[in-house]
Assembly symmetry: C2
Homo-oligomer: 156 residues x 2
DNA sequence: TATTGTTATACTCTATAACTATA
DNA sequence: TATAGTTATAGAGTATAACAATA
């Protein structure tokens, strides 16, 4: 004889793809955040470092635009990096309102270890997928990103 | 002639699968959070509602365990739901330390609309994938969740 | 002693908006 | 007037740990 069920919901949380995406993504991000935390770095700080390293964003306003954060929030992130002597701010010659951002040698020295943390975290979570599956997942996510015009770099 | 590149980084942010996962997941979650916000509900509150609806968790401690939040955090989430008259707390007959949680009729009346918000959000983000692609994505994410023993319900 | 749930406190992250200095 | 960057303030969300009641 069956045990009576509590009123079954119309749909469970697990029905939604967004649920699975969030479940896995949160774990990957939390793992990465823990890895960075051992080096006293936040994900937002890591992203800013990489933006400046790649020179895809060399002013605070550009970092803000690239990440979708406000200029106020970026200002604090850059403060942290500068306190740590990983970032040098200098005024633009042509416009004294504008700053140019550059990584210090100390930052460039630390980057390989941070990159290793990122690599290891990715490896740890995705190694259970073979190469073809990883390529498939990447393709699907990139298709979604492209379709929704996602340009900004996620920092949380 | 090629334009000289700025010092190329060892690996870009986009190298990592975690990057793409976070990029897409954050957008889906943010979209859902906006949808719920129009009904003055947080994602954590929505998850708690669904946990109680499904009766997979009927005490605060069980909701805490299911979501990975602390009992202190859950207590506040439940306060919000109770203030709204969506939740009834009652003491267990057999153990006066324990509470039993139940949704009110008011909550059950509101659930279909909230579920519609969740459905629409999922539909909005994933409709660019066809049925086969969605199944593929779901399968890959579930494989990752299973491999890493992810049981808790993500609330942020 | 151990457990359930609550509460006081603090911390992190971020947005908003006022502010300064330049242009 | 408009823009770059900073700062003051506030809010959301959550953890930690002390707490009261109960077992």
């Amino acid at each position: 004889m069956k045990k009576p069920l509590p009123t079954p919901p119309t749909a469970t949380l697990q029905t939604h793809l967004g649920y699975w995406l969030r479940l896995v993504s949160n774990q990957v991000s939390a793992g990465f955040a823990r890895g960075l935390q051992a080096r006293e770095l936040s994900v937002a700080e890591w992203v800013a470092l990489k933006q400046i390293e790649g020179a895809s964003a060399v002013t605070p306003a550009q970092v803000a635009a690239a990440t979708g954060m406000t200029r106020g929030a970026i200002s604090k992130v850059l403060d942290k990096l500068e306190e740590r002597r990983w970032l040098a701010r200098s005024l633009s010659i042509s416009d004294n309102r504008v700053q140019h951002l550059a990584l210090t040698a100390r930052a460039r020295h630390a980057l390989p270890e941070l990159t290793a943390i990122a690599n290891q975290n990715d490896e740890h979570f995705f190694h259970v997928l073979d190469g073809a599956e990883q390529a498939l997942l990447r393709g699907l996510l990139q298709k979604l990103a492209a379709a929704h015009h996602l340009h900004t770099v996620p920092v949380d």
